[in-house]
């Protein structure tokens, strides 16, 4: 049974409409996964609005969707108030809490729809929306095994792994990988050398058919952005190589990066993977592209 992955928003931090970003897209994080009938949505950035419009066309009888938020920073939740299925009484939406004993996803989805921020309140949404919690970092959704893994990011963020019928997809954005390389001295001294990452992180991603990875910065840019919670694309490639990933989509493109800059970043990533002797397929996540795995 194939799995389908579609990118609805690939930009980091803030939407960037315009000619300079037309190829990779200006909407913020949102990825749709379809695995054997399960509709799984990773993050609700502004790309979620476009997904909602498409779902209304595809599923006019109502939508059942499972929403996984890596975290609740603006660029990952701003699309939710514009998600058309949330207004439909025929829709059922399940949102997932990753932090035990914490209802931050529900709280902040409600919060951003307070009248100070938005004219329609959460309570006016027509859909049935329920919250579910991860237990032991794992749960099952319509036959799909879903696991979560905490990543280095201000305010905490989580990666998600989705496994079904021999296919594994990992969504791992907003992760400052460079802050947790095993040998930071080597990283500075020999930037071309493979950057070892913690075994538990590598194990979480191991064997993925597709890794969607934060690769916001170039190596040159990263030092000035240290502590902002994002990775150098080169380090994301090294993670994918160590984990034996088949394809790696560099994601969460910097809002300052034009399409040409993203393209240069991706070419550098491909050269790096090849220099490591890896057959990893690297590409830039592009709005509107759908993969079949």
């Amino acid at each position: 049974m194939p799995a389908y992955v579609r990118f609805w928003g690939t930009r980091g931090s803030i939407p960037t409409p315009g000619h300079q970003t037309r190829r990779y897209g200006g909407n913020t994080s949102c990825v749709e996964l379809r695995m054997d009938g399960a509709l799984l949505v990773c993050d609700g950035g502004t790309g979620l609005r476009e997904l909602g419009l498409d779902l209304r066309r595809r599923m006019p009888e109502g939508v059942e969707a499972h929403l996984f938020f890596s975290h609740m920073h603006w660029d990952h939740i701003q699309g939710f108030p514009f998600f058309v299925p949330a207004y439909s009484p025929e829709s059922r939406l399940h949102v997932y809490e990753t932090v035990p004993g914490d209802n931050r996803v529900q709280r902040l989805l409600h919060g951003q729809m307070k009248s100070e921020y938005f004219p329609v309140s959460f309570s006016e949404l027509g859909a049935t929306i329920d919250a579910r919690h991860f237990s032991q970092d794992e749960l099952w959704v319509q036959g799909v095994r879903v696991r979560c893994f905490e990543q280095p990011h201000p305010g905490r963020s989580f990666a998600f792994s989705f496994e079904h019928d021999g296919k594994k997809i990992v969504y791992a954005t907003d992760s400052e990988l460079d802050s947790c390389v095993c040998d930071p001295v080597l990283r500075e001294r020999e930037p071309e050398a493979l950057r070892r990452l913690p075994p538990d992180l590598v194990g979480f991603i191991e064997g993925a058919d597709l890794l969607i990875a934060d690769g916001q910065y170039t190596d040159t840019e990263y030092p000035a952005k240290r502590g902002w919670g994002h990775a150098s694309a080169a380090t994301a490639v090294d993670l994918a190589v160590q984990a034996g990933v088949r394809q790696c989509a560099i994601f969460h493109h910097d809002p300052m990066h034009s399409d040409e800059v993203v393209e240069e970043k991706i070419q550098a990533c491909r050269a790096r993977a090849a220099a490591h002797g890896s057959e990893l397929i690297v590409f830039g996540a592009r709005e509107g592209v759908e993969l079949k795995l």
């Binding site: 389908y4 037309r22 190829r23 397929i281 590409f283 592009r286 709005e287 509107g288 592209v289 759908e290 993969l291 079949k292």
Partner: protein
């Protein structure tokens, strides 16, 4: 299918894919979106994309017929919605590669390359 007299700077045929009526809306100063066939049987050649759905394949029954053994009979479709054109793999045997990455579907933009086996196409936006 119509074969155009207008060569658009190409040395070989340009083909209009779609009904003649579909030309309405593309004024004399505007051009419809098109595909340039750069490599593969029949290259070089250019196809103007006028119909709402255009199928690429090996079959003589499809709108863009390219007789490559690596091409399925109905390999991929181009679906037009206003100025936007979406490429969709029709469950082909050998897949569709957009700028080197195998995709199931994607919106096309100026200069995108589409590789199907030994066939290389480049998408050109209208306007």
């Amino acid at each position: 299918m119509l074969v155009s007299e207008d060569r658009f700077g190409f040395d070989s045929d340009s083909t209009l894919v779609g009904e003649p009526g579909a030309l309405t809306g593309w004024g004399p100063a505007r051009r419809p979106p098109r595909l340039e066939l750069l490599q593969g049987p029949g290259a070089p050649r250019e196809f103007n994309l006028l119909a709402e759905e255009i199928v690429i394949g090996r079959s003589s029954q499809v709108e863009i017929c390219i007789e490559s053994q690596l091409m399925s009979r109905r390999h991929a479709a181009l679906r037009r919605s206003g100025p936007d054109v979406r490429l969709v793999d029709l469950e082909s045997a050998n897949g569709v590669y957009l700028n080197g990455v195998r995709v199931h579907s994607a919106g096309l933009l100026e200069g995108d390359t589409i590789q199907i086996g030994d066939v290389l196409l480049v998408y050109r936006e209208g306007g």
